[in-house]
């Protein structure tokens, strides 16, 4: 049983929606590699790799689509 970490997709603002997208992207990584120390070590390395940063940014982008739709784009 996973601990409670996601209560819903509604956010007050677009920026909070973006922050939620980041959280969703990181969770996907964290579930495969639950060791925080390993993740920190990997982050140091991929933070120096342009493509790695781009790939990570893309996952955020996909989740942001979902969160934005869930909030009717904060219209």
């Amino acid at each position: 049983m996973m601990e409670q970490w996601l209560t819903g997709l509604k956010t007050d603002t677009a920026q909070e929606g973006y922050e939620l997208a980041i959280k969703l992207a990181r969770k996907g990584v964290g579930l495969t590699q639950p060791d925080e120390a390993v993740r920190k070590r990997l982050r140091l390395k991929y933070a120096e790799d342009a493509d790695s940063l781009t790939f990570a940014s893309q996952v955020i982008a996909v989740h942001f689509q979902t969160v934005a739709a869930a909030n009717d784009y904060w219209k």
Copy 2:
């Protein structure tokens, strides 16, 4: 004939939806590589590779879009 493993896309909460997205992503891997021992070995390796983790996270993100839409974003 595949065994029954997916009964629908409805979930009670967003977090359960995320868990379903993970299940859908893993199933896509499991169908190509049905050997659990091989998958476990591969997981050990890619869990140490930042890009592999990001790619896996992206598949979850794509499935989460589907599950979230199926649940009308748990509005």
Copy 3:
């Protein structure tokens, strides 16, 4: 002229929809590499590569979005 292999996107259940997504993903590969023997050989190799499995899983995920939408998410 391609033989008839796809009659529609409607399926009775979400799981059958997932199976259709797999079929759609494999067809995309089969059309570029029609030689079943070559595909079998390639599958043996990429089934041992974590990223290859993830990439294949992602194509299924994209098709599953389409099939799920076509079935109104089996609501």
Copy 4:
């Protein structure tokens, strides 16, 4: 001025929609590499590479989403 190669996204069947998706994917390649001889040579090579086949299959999947939506999923 490009010659006329795309008259619309409507197709009679899902399978014809899939064929249109393939055409759209190939056009994206053809516009960058217009030399048919080069493309044929490249195809020989990537047809032996599992990941290349998967990537090509993914582009078809993205276009198939568009074509399927344009046809209201051939409901």
Copy 5:
């Protein structure tokens, strides 16, 4: 301030929509690498690489989804 290069997403035909998708994809490259001479040199190289062509084709596919939706699929 960027010069005016995009006036809207409406096009008369699906093919013009595809051309707009290409323009949108290229703009994404051009903004990161504004040097036309460098881009031309890179294009010569990736036009000989099957995966590079596929990746470029995928960006067009994503933009074509957007343009097609903006035009209600030229129904």
Copy 6:
């Protein structure tokens, strides 16, 4: 607490929407690699790599989908 950098997804024109998509894509990179000097160094390198440019262009494309939908495609 992140500083305020995103006030909403509405833009007056499609081109401003595209610029917002670029901003969203860059933010995803900036949050993982907050060091502007490192990012500048990386940008010099990936601006010479065709695939890196394509990958970056794809993230913009995904965000542009979101922004375009949020603006009802500037119809």
